[in-house]
């Protein structure tokens, strides 16, 4: 009997040890990107497509004030409410004291410079597909933004979700840098896929989630309940959206649907971002949307 208990305890310790190792944060190796210099002008386009300001500007900020990334906006979820942090270049309250490697680990792997998991309310599972060149350019652009000394607010997340190590287990299940649309047969579709699946992270709102809050990739872009409260986010697959490619591209530049209804809610800032991108980018996104299969089964 004592032998059995001993074996069980040993197995328990081994499993806990394995769990500890498997859920460990994995930042980029030291010195991966340091030394790379970016182009801030190209970085502004990455910043716009990735929508950084849309979540990190202060609540109710408008116009130029949206470039002050002081944080504070609230994002409700089934796991609690997340408050966007200050990511301005302020060295004390923002990320001004980060290295490029720190930034890359955060954006592409969801790991903070202190070696902790970031909550996936920050869409690093999409940004994991960001090209390194774009990330370096983005970092260069972000240095040019105004500093804000507004302290970041803590998330309002209760037990057990306030244990960040648990996100390591979540990442094992859901953090895949693979494309969802595995076949993109033209440069335009590749660009559309990169914008949708990586930078603009459309899947985060437009794809349903399972009980653990991970995206259901088998129902990609088929629509979902509004993560921030009531209502639904529409599906974009052909069975849900009958618009033509030119109508999708026009909507992304103007906010007008084919019936000349006008976008509202979070989509307003998405449209404003897309309106600032080149025509070819909106056309590429439209081509990607038209290439989605019915029901979202891409794998």
């Amino acid at each position: 009997m004592r032998r059995l208990i001993g074996v069980v305890v040993l197995a328990g310790v081994a499993l806990a040890g394995a769990g500890w190792l498997l859920t460990a944060p994995k930042p980029l190796p030291e010195g991966s990107l340091d030394g790379a210099t970016g182009d801030a002008e190209r970085g502004q386009l990455v910043f716009t497509a990735a929508g950084c300001a849309s979540c990190h500007h202060a609540p109710d900020a408008e116009g130029e004030a949206r470039l002050v990334l002081s944080g504070g906006q609230r994002f409700a979820s089934a796991f609690g409410t997340f408050l966007a942090p200050n990511i301005s270049p302020d060295p004390a309250q923002g990320i001004g004291d980060w290295s490029l490697d720190d930034f890359a680990s955060a954006v592409k792997r969801g790991v903070s410079p202190e070696g902790q998991h970031l909550y996936p309310a920050f869409p690093y599972t999409a940004y994991a597909r960001m090209e390194d060149g774009d990330l370096v350019d983005l970092w260069a652009y972000m240095q040019t933004l105004p500093a804000s000394d507004t302290p970041s607010q803590p998330h309002e997340v209760g037990f057990p979700f306030n244990i960040r190590r648990g996100v390591g287990a979540w990442k094992m299940l859901y953090a895949s840098p693979d494309w969802v649309m595995t076949e993109a047969e033209s440069p335009q579709l590749e660009r559309g896929r990169y914008l949708v699946e990586a930078l603009a992270h459309c899947g985060e709102c437009h794809t349903p989630r399972d009980a653990l809050g991970g995206l259901d990739r088998s129902a990609w872009l088929t629509g979902a309940p509004n993560p921030n409260g009531r209502g639904t986010i529409p599906g974009l697959t052909p069975d849900k959206l009958s618009w033509g490619a030119d109508e999708i591209a026009y909507y992304l530049s103007s906010g007008f649907t084919p019936e000349y209804d006008s976008a509202g809610g979070h989509m307003v800032e998405v449209v404003e971002n897309f309106a600032a991108l080149p025509d070819e980018d909106r056309a590429a996104v439209a081509a990607y949307i038209k290439a989605l299969p019915e029901g979202g089964h891409l794998d």
Binding site: G229, G231, T232, I233, P234, F256, Y260, G264, G265
Partner: protein, 152 residues
């Protein structure tokens, strides 16, 4: 055993509630109707701007004049207290409208300004319509961003 007076009181409260809901029905139809008028006229101008329909100066001017006309409708009577999506069905009007009615009214005013800008250029050819459509879209979005709930 419920007393007669209690029963009558309950009925009266229900009737009053039903009456309040019926009152808002007219306002709902009116304000949703004004958005449909806007959409139809935006469509006339937007389709010309995109080259989907042939430019017609008279039709464009009439559409722009209509947008201005709608923007001049006084909004306060259409948005009575108790007609938000939290109070009644069939509306996407968020309760924040009544918390910030001055801001809501100023956003309606901004729509009027954008419509007036369109009115001055609508007769000048299809190319002029594009930027003016942008101004109108911005005005629509600015209000929908804050004051319209998502679709159910």
């Amino acid at each position: 055993m419920i007393r007669m007076s209690t029963g009558l009181a309950v009925l009266a409260i229900c009737a009053a509630g039903a009456a309040a809901a019926q009152d808002a029905t007219a306002q709902l139809k009116a304000r949703q109707g004004q958005f449909r008028i806007l959409a139809i006229n935006l469509g006339i101008l937007g389709d010309m701007a995109q080259g989907k329909t042939e430019y017609d100066a008279e039709a464009a001017q009439a559409a722009a004049d209509s947008l201005v006309g709608v923007s001049m409708v006084n909004q306060a009577p259409l948005w009575p207290e108790g007609s938000s999506e939290m109070d009644i069905d069939n509306t996407r009007a968020k309760a924040e409208i009544w918390d910030n009615f001055d801001d809501f009214a100023s956003k309606w005013g901004a729509l009027g300004e954008a419509a007036a800008s369109m009115q001055t250029v609508a007769g000048n050819g299809a190319e002029a319509l594009g930027p003016a459509m942008g101004g109108l879209g911005g005005a629509c979005k600015a209000c929908h961003d804050t004051y319209r709930a998502p679709q159910s």
